[in-house]
């Protein structure tokens, strides 16, 4: 009897010791990689011509067989195939998508799949610049046949909005993203995951993207905080796709500089700075104290690069309310405010207004 007690104590202690690592505060990168690999899949579909790759990556979001991946041309086929980490090839179909989040959710065809899956609630996390990360993806289709996807390392470079209002990025996702200090966004990498070294799920690796403002390629991931709910709703069949706002480029220009009494210098260069040539006497601009040779730098807090950008911004402001400008006068930055008329007078294209709508507030 004593023997049994000792043996059972030993066994209990043994079990505790063996179980300890998973209870430990953090996990080493090796155990993270093992776990995450099990939940990452390779997606094969449409493409393969004219430099459009026919493959991407995905991650398992339910053990019943749902995979989240990036919304792309690869999914545009009846013959979508998902290859699991253990090598099984499963046909799939698109269950739902949200292009504005770069997101699509696939349903794997088959019963009793019992996959190793992410628990989006429990496993997701946020991180800031400097956090060490791992990226998992089938970039360049390096993983052939049954092989596991590739792993890269780096840090979070920044967490910031991808678009500025000047539309610098050409992407459907327009929210805050993880900018990654690692070359994660390669052909086929979209739909892969970004995790911490301890195994926390940070986001989904996005598409190849070029920042038009700096003329450089950007590596980004859509944060899980944006994707969690839509994924769960798509799986539950309750997702309603977002309505896209009215396309701003189609809008007729609502306001022009002249309506505030501002006459800009002739716009002859590609980026003519927005210098004020004249201020019409008695106008809103005159009352606000604007002067000739002032350089308009900010409209409602956003930098104005040129005359063209200033006209675009004014074309989009709403009627009523206040227009806040910051101008450079000599060596000083001078903020001014002026009222925006309630009823914008939108002249027919080509007709210049000569009288500002004075006193309409």
């Amino acid at each position: 009897m004593m023997g049994t007690r000792v043996i059972s104590t030993v066994l209990t202690l043994l079990a505790a010791v063996v179980a300890w690592p998973s209870v430990a505060v953090g996990q080493s990168v090796y155990s993270t990689i093992q776990r995450v690999q099990q939940r990452t899949v390779k997606v094969f579909g449409a493409g393969g011509i004219k430099r459009l790759h026919s493959y991407s990556t995905g991650f398992v979001v339910s053990s019943a067989g749902h995979v989240a991946t990036v919304w792309s041309h690869v999914l545009d086929t009846e013959e979508l195939i998902v290859v699991l980490a253990d090598g099984r090839k499963i046909p799939a179909k698109v269950l739902g998508a949200e292009p504005q989040l770069d997101l699509a959710v696939l349903e794997l065809k088959g019963d009793d799949l019992e996959l190793s899956a992410w628990d989006l609630e429990a496993d997701s996390s946020d991180a800031g610049p400097g956090t060490r990360v791992l990226g998992f993806s089938n970039m360049f289709r390096v993983a052939t046949g049954d092989e596991m996807v590739s792993v890269m390392h780096g840090v979070v470079a920044a967490k910031a909005p991808l678009t500025t209002r000047s539309g610098a990025f050409e992407t459907s996702y327009e929210g805050t993203a993880y900018i990654v200090d690692a070359v994660t966004n390669n052909p086929g990498a979209g739909g892969g995951v970004l995790t911490t070294r301890g195994g926390r799920l940070l986001g989904m690796i996005g598409k190849e993207l070029r920042n038009a403002a700096s003329n450089t390629w950007v590596n980004y991931a859509v944060p899980m905080s944006e994707l969690k709910l839509p994924i769960q709703q798509i799986i539950a069949g309750k997702y309603r796709a977002r309505q896209r706002g009215p396309d701003e480029t189609d809008a007729v220009a609502r306001f022009r500089p002249l309506e505030f009494g501002i006459v800009l210098v002739p716009d002859v260069l590609f980026r003519t700075p927005a210098f004020i040539d004249r201020v019409q006497p008695g106008s809103a601009a005159a009352t606000a104290g604007l002067q000739p040779d002032d350089l308009v730098l900010f409209v409602n807090g956003d930098l104005v690069q040129s005359c063209r950008v200033l006209k675009q911004r004014l074309g989009r402001i709403d009627a009523g309310g206040t227009l806040k400008l910051t101008v450079r006068r000599g060596d000083k930055l001078v903020p001014v405010e002026m009222p925006v008329p309630d009823k914008p007078l939108t002249p027919a294209p080509g007709q210049a207004k000569t009288k500002p709508p004075g006193g309409s507030k």
Binding site: V17, P21, Q27, S28, V155, P161, N215, T216, R271
Partner: protein, 667 residues
Amino acid sequence: MRAVRVPEWRMGRVTGWLSFCLVAAAAGSAVAQDLTVVDLETREEQAFKEASAVVAPAVVRIQTVGGLDRVGRILTGTAATTGVVVSPDGYVISSAFNFVSRPASVLVTLSDGRRFPAKIVANDRARMLTLLKIDVVGLAVPKTAPRDGFRVGQWAIAMGRTYESPLPNLSVGIVSALNRIWGRALQTDAKISPANYGGPLVDIQGRVIGVLVPLSQRQAGQTAGVEWYDSGIGFAIPMVDILGTLPRLKAGEDLLPGLMGITLKPGDVYASAAVIDRVRFNSPAEKAGLKPGDVIVSVDGQAIKRLVQVRHALGNKYAGETITVLVKRGEKSVEQKIELTGKLEPYTPVFLGLLPVRKKLGEASDGVTVRGILPESPASKAMIRPGDRVVQLDDKAVVDLAGLFDAISRRRVGDEVKVHVDRGGAKQMLTARLAVVPSEVPAVLESDVIVAPDPKPADLPKTGRFNQDLTGHDHSFWAYVPETYNPAHGYGLVVWIHPGSDTMEADIHDLWKPICDERGLILVGPRAKEIAGWSLNEAGFIEALVQEMQQKYRIDSQRIVLHSYSDGCRFSFHLAFKYRSLFRGVAASSEPLKIAPPENRPDVRLQFFFSCGDKDNLYRLVQQTRKRLTAMKFPVVLTTVPGEGHSYPPIPVLDAIARWIDMLDRI
């Protein structure tokens, strides 16, 4: 029975404990290892974040307004860039690349959100940095990492402020190499790009190692090195060096790379000794008394055994700095202190005014025989006559034309030279005072028309007008070779670069056929891939085309010229500057020069012939081009076509171009 069980139980217990201990030890060490790994990873990550947090208050966001949209081949960006505070009274250092568009206005946003307009105070053109000033005091200045602490392999964190975020963006890497770019920068494998140009490279202790800039070891210039962004190769200028130059920059002084004014004899840069070949006129080297033939033995105490070491020694010196050079002149050793300059006087080609006889294939060379004397030239004033054979210039024997070119290229305008000629068997010595190359083409220049060979050789290449594809290139060209082509004579080569949308083949052929026949020229008309116009990367095709013609025909390398009209000229200027040793002249019509020409060189000539109608909108710009090139001492002829607008030059101007080409081999 109990007595029998007790020993068994004891054995089991011992075994049990033993196995427990072993397993526990194994599991324990695995866990301990796991924990150690986790612990180190977490601590390193914490260190990255803390190091960047320490420096972040001194990292500023820079935005620009206005400016050019394209500089050279780079599109300038409009994204925010980065700078580092270097002085509490409002001085910020940044990468010169951030201002390459020459913006109308510069704004600096501090880490606390305050925004200021900034003034550009000065530029360091050797290290590609720009100093800005904003009107504020009491700024935090980061600690500087000392130079003796730099280690290849140490952590290096690159910081920038390009995104709309209160936290700076980071990239983590290591220091990959020290003393790159001729000693100016250290190299890192962190991702360096416009996202962090101008920002700090920080060590794990939160000290600034350097400021990030794009650089290339092969070329200088405002946009050099940008093509390497995010490649794993990035450069930072050590902050200790920047602080050393800060007083001069603050005073508004632009810093330039220091030049001595010598060229070294070409050889294997890694093996040959450093022998001075030429000394530039009025340069610090000339003023210090250095002479061609001197062997540089040491610079600032560092022994020079190989040519390349001279570049390393001078690589990070500024104009205004003084170096000590020890040279060997014959048996003597001479030491000189030399103050480096920022600008050297351009080389001015000299003009004697004699036209050499063109040797036929196989003819022996014993001096240079004169085929003609240009009117009003130093040669005519010295009474040199056609038929004279030049055998010596001052104290140097002249064996062939190449030797005479080289000898004359070492002289200055205004020098008196003694020309020794053989005139009908008798030796004569004539004195000439060298002048500037004239900017006019003489109204008359006789040509020796080449006659067809008799008997006709069996392997004569194609003559007349023909079309051909260039093997190995996806391009075609047309050509005209005089029907009387004689392989014993050297022919000039005119490369016609057509304007966009129109190859002008028929017109050019009809106009140039008689000129080619008269002056012994071969004309090639390459065709651009896209009918819309030339792309600069088709330059390789043109080089290959010229080499192909040189193989098939006997081409006189002194008379290979580019001829272009209107927007074709942009490509022809690019070719002339890119292949300096190939093209001797550019005859451009109705288009100004928009790119910066390289320096004039004594060893390879480059001359220009411009023509433009005075009613052409571009006429004034073409005149400015002539002024600019003349200031750089290139020989330029500008022919105005009165009453004409934007059109291809008329026949009299083409005849002038033909005479100009015929004179390109003048001394």
